[in-house]
Subunit: 208 residues, 2 copies
């Protein structure tokens, strides 16, 4: 039997480079699976069903809620976003470490329901760099950037709810560090139940 995977929730300031970091993790290591969210938002150009999102009607989504098929869900700007449980469970069972990129409210809900989830918060090296990254994108108005910064202030208040805080300065170094965090989490005694059981049985057999 495969050792059960770890559910890793990743949040971070807008502009912290979470998306690129996740892609780098998936590119470099084989033990990760990215959770795919369900949403009622319309697909944008280039988005593909089952890759970026599972696109659902409002009725379908509300049925998933009613049937307890979602680990967490939330409503943003009139649309539902949520994490289908079945896919995550299946990957964890197979020993894959599953990455879930969600916001702080969702992260808290997941940790409540699944206390052995690892919560990780990603940040640029400082507020100056965060502002630079937000501005460099060039796709957003000053008001949007302003709002994101204000939101970052609020998000920063919740970081203590996370288990780990990592600085995304150098992409490769950060991916390697996050990977090590997951590897080391696998060595937590609370995740070694079966192994400990086996060693105890062996020891008892010998000492008789």
């Amino acid at each position: 039997m495969e050792k059960r995977g770890i559910l890793l929730v990743v949040s971070g300031f807008s502009g912290a480079g979470k998306g690129t970091l996740m892609k780098e993790l998936l590119r470099r290591y084989e033990n990760y699976a990215l959770s795919v969210s369900a949403t009622t938002r319309k697909p944008r150009e280039g988005e593909e069903e089952g890759r970026e999102y599972f696109f659902k009607t409002r009725e379908e989504f509300e049925q998933m809620i009613a049937e307890g098929q979602l680990i967490e869900y939330a409503c943003y700007v009139g649309n539902y976003y949520g994490t289908p449980k079945a896919y995550v469970e299946q990957q964890l069972e197979q020993g894959q470490d599953v990455i879930l990129e969600i916001e702080i409210q969702g992260a808290r809900k997941v940790k409540e329901r699944f206390p052995d989830t690892v919560l990780l918060f990603v940040s640029p090296p400082g507020a100056e760099e965060l502002k630079r990254r937000l501005t460099k994108r060039g796709t957003e108005s000053p008001e949007v950037i302003e709002n994101r910064l204000k939101r970052a202030v609020e998000e920063a208040e919740g970081i203590e709810d996370y288990d780990y805080f990592v600085i995304n300065d150098d992409l490769e170094a950060c991916a390697e560090h996050v990977h090590q965090i997951v590897r080391c989490e696998h060595s937590r005694t609370l995740r070694c139940g079966e192994l400990l059981h086996d060693i105890r049985e062996e020891l008892k057999a010998f000492s008789k």
Copy 2:
């Protein structure tokens, strides 16, 4: 100011290779300092004051207890063993990660007094290998080996009190893994208080 170091308590089955593992950590990485215990036991040949132990008389040791100079202490086979607090504190302040090799009762006491201590348990790959290692030493009688095995059964019952459980199969790989555990522990939000404070202040200044 240096970031405060981590106190790492290492325990493990007799024959798990803790001593060799600690030496390898100290040889490979510069961030570790080994805590030196005080004891009332007589020095053995080749042992040096302040290297293996601080050798104390019973009166001196009991005064250290009375003055609260020890993080933990215990009595084995008529002799006191304990961890002087001053040296550990000084190293942690300087940003060194301090390794403390003690047994399970001591480990529990340290964790109670200093909850942010990291407790690590080291094991050989299995009971068979543990027995082989105990026997290979060739310096102990069958009765001593037998007793150690029985003790291992008891120790195994307490492993869940530790944060991490690592298998010492390959020495270099194990040292690297333990080093990563300490590195990743430095990224725990509970150890990032100052950094989080600074980022919050910066963000607030920007969003005004």
